[in-house]
Amino acid sequence: MIETHGLHKRFGSTVAVEDLSLQVGEGEIFGFLGPNGAGKTTSIKMLLALVAPSSGTGRVLGAPIGNRAARARVGFLPEHFRFHESLTAIELLRFHGRLYGLRGAPLEGRIDRLLSRVDLVDAADRPLRGYSKGMLQRVGLAQSLLNDPRLVFLDEPTSGLDPLGRLLVRSIIEELRADGVTVFLNSHLLGEVEATCDRVVFVKRGRIVGERRLSAPAEIVELELRVGAAGPAILEGLSRFGTNITRPQPDVIELRTGTEAAVPMIVSWLVQQGVPVHAVQPRRKSLEDVFLDVMGEDERPG
């Protein structure tokens, strides 16, 4: 769906994107994470041909970046969506639909469905100037889906939305996933990204510095085991399953394993050794922890 090699963008003496090389597969919900000023929005703009790269190449939907036929199957919700404030939501959607080549009943039907989906039917005939920030974001989301896209770029889609609005966005992303649509999501809300994305990459100073597959089992899991009496031999035996084995309390053992798949084996081994297991508490590293690890201590708030 997206493939780029060494995309680089420089504005004068400022490097906005150092090296964007990535691949996004069909139907993937892809998260693009990084602090402010990391070059996320510029990267999206390059993929949408809103900004020409200084160097590097890329393909979107199998065609070179900027190809018009490919853009007809792409949807885009910019950060802080804005449009002519005198238009109503219906007029805005009608205008954008026409630019996608839609006309007549198919367009009107699509507009009705989308307005209903983003819960703006009641406000459909009101000018955008009277809309709240969240309503603007929702009508922007509707316009990004007008063309029944195969690839959708969402740049901070929940910006300005209340919790209900965020839930709405999340459910729409789930629907897109079910339809096999690829979603390129740029968001600061790591919890949301963690809940929706299959895979994320971390961008720092215009360069991808890390990647994490969220749909796969966690690579490193910290376990807290509440057990009965266990001697030093048990602790030594556990070392075959993991590292950093400690015993902070007489009935608690902590250790770090390489995969969640090791948990049942550990429990089974302890039971075989005659150690009663009262509770197992895996502590998976949150995306926020990973984000902070990847960014390092030298990264400052943007």
């Binding site: 041909a49 018009r68 885009f76």
Partner: protein, 277 residues
């Protein structure tokens, strides 16, 4: 072409909703009201004065008509500059253009659509003022329109050129910078025209040459002077009695201005296509 029409339609809807059309119509009607009152009183006074001959009366009415057109032309040019001054730069600054430019259309179609939509409004404004002046002069003073078929296309070209300069500037500069430059561009033409006229009237060749050179750099005002020349009566044109015929731009300037307009539009498209949005 369909996308150009769609963008032009949006431009017209937006102008109507922002009350630009209403403001233009109200100001044009106010202008015509003042003009018709002035013409009515001038005509009554001249008709009641036996010492004013028919020829003098016609000459005065022609002068009033030309002054009316001078003001209408100036207002139309300013309208044409201010109308699209933020159409590209403003939408780039606000981010509105990102949603538009990410659609499957060529950026040239965005520029052409906005240009066409604004041009329709600017030409409608010019034609409203021009028609009003001609109707008032005809109905109140009985003066038939002279040279209008030649003059109006020239005034339309001047408005088109001024508007195109403002659109082209908007593809490159911020709104305020663009406004200053577009008005300045017309101001240069305006003062160049005056210099050329004074040079022609007084016979100072150097002034006339400077004026002509300025017209080549900024040809807008030369279209007005050529149009005014066509609207003068034959006797005034041959004698230079109304001064507007003191230095008449060459008909080749029409081609120069048309070429200038096309070049400015091409520049707008090229610049906007390359611009980071």
């Amino acid at each position: 072409m369909r996308d150009v029409i769609t963008v032009a339609h949006l431009t017209l809807v937006e102008a109507r909703r922002r009350r630009i059309v209403l403001a233009g119509a109200v100001c044009a009607l106010a202008f015509l009201l003042v003009f018709s009152i002035a013409v009515t009183f001038a005509y009554r006074e001249m008709s009641g004065d036996k010492s004013v001959s028919f020829v003098e009366r016609q000459g005065t009415l022609t002068a009033i008509k030309l002054v009316g057109f001078l003001a209408a032309n100036f207002l139309s040019v300013i309208f044409a500059i201010l109308l699209p001054v933020d159409t590209l730069s403003g939408e780039i600054d606000s981010g509105v253009i990102q949603t538009l430019a990410s659609k499957p259309i060529d950026r040239a179609q965005i520029v052409l659509g906005k240009w066409a939509g604004h041009l329709l409004l600017a030409l409608a404004y010019l034609l409203m003022l021009s028609t009003g002046i001609l109707v008032v002069i005809r109905v109140v003073g009985g003066l038939p329109p002279t040279g209008v078929t030649q003059a109006l296309p020239l005034l339309m070209l001047e408005v088109t050129l001024s508007l195109t300069i403002a659109v082209a500037g908007g593809a490159r500069f911020s709104t305020v910078t663009n406004a200053i430059m577009a008005v300045g561009f017309y101001g240069v033409a305006f003062i160049g025209g005056f210099i050329e006229q004074i040079g022609g009237f007084t016979g100072i060749t150097s002034m006339r040459t400077i004026g002509i050179l300025v017209s080549l750099v900024s040809p807008a005002d030369s279209m007005w002077r050529l149009a005014a020349h066509h609207m003068e009566p034959e006797i005034a044109r041959s004698t230079g009695m109304l001064a507007l015929g003191a230095s008449v731009p060459s008909p080749l300037m029409v081609w120069w201005a048309a070429g200038f307009t096309v070049a400015a539009l091409m520049y707008a498209i090229r610049t906007f296509r390359r611009r980071a949005l």
